[in-house]
């Protein structure tokens, strides 16, 4: 399953809620304002690290990071993808949930 999150974790609870429902083997893709969560030193990093430790794969959309001047600060373990990578994630996961 692919979880898509687009909210800044400092503003809304979407990421926390998503991570609480992500199961081992699932993928989480951070887009739009959610990309801040995947940057080094962000308070949301702890939650992401815990998810990754339980076999949840975390991806971040590079174009959204670049637009926000944070592409050089991606946290360890998080994979950057472009839109083609976003499409591949949707294709390879049989179900998709957007945490709006």
């Amino acid at each position: 399953m692919l979880h898509i999150v687009n909210k800044s974790p400092s503003e809304r609870t979407a990421l926390a809620s998503c991570l609480a429902h992500a199961r081992p083997g699932h993928c989480v893709l951070l887009i739009e304002d959610a990309v801040y969560a995947a940057t080094r030193g962000h308070a949301a990093g702890e939650g992401l690290a815990a998810a990754m430790a339980s076999q949840v794969k975390v991806y971040v959309l590079a174009p959204d990071l670049e637009a926000r001047a944070r592409a050089g600060a991606v946290a360890d373990g998080v994979s950057m993808v472009d839109y083609a990578g976003f499409v591949d994630l949707v294709a390879k996961n049989p179900r998709v949930q957007s945490w709006l």
Partner: protein, 124 residues
């Protein structure tokens, strides 16, 4: 493309409170339409979405439509799978008795397992 007879598992995921924004109301409109397609339809209420089911909503003074009675009418559309997350209720000081319709209360892990069985998830 002939898809007659295809039955998918739908879960409408409600995470937003009513009235502050239109998502709950317009989300419910999609749910009602989905009933005409003979699909396996369920609704999940978590986070602020649980407030949609609060008993005793009175919208007179805000001049908005009170759509909460519609949740009770869902049964008439053969939509009977209403799942509410326990942790979301508890962290908001609510219990099942505060809700206007019969629901199945699930813990977070059970909700996650339920989502993992779905074909389509539409979130509002």
């Amino acid at each position: 493309m002939d898809q007659a007879g295809t039955v998918k598992k739908f879960l409408f995921v409600n995470r937003k409170a009513p009235y502050g924004s239109v998502y709950a109301l317009e989300g419910l409109e999609v749910v009602l339409i989905s009933a005409a397609f003979d699909q396996d339809v369920g609704l999940a209420f978590l986070d602020d979405g649980v407030y949609q089911l609060a008993k005793g909503q009175n919208t007179k003074a805000i001049e908005s439509k009170n759509f909460s009675p519609t949740y009770r009418a869902l049964e008439g559309y053969d939509i009977e799978k209403l799942y509410v997350e326990r942790e979301s209720l508890e962290s908001r000081g609510l219990t099942e008795d505060d809700l206007l319709v019969d629901v199945q209360v699930l813990g977070k892990a059970e909700m996650a397992a339920l989502m993992d069985e779905m074909d389509v998830m539409i979130s509002f």
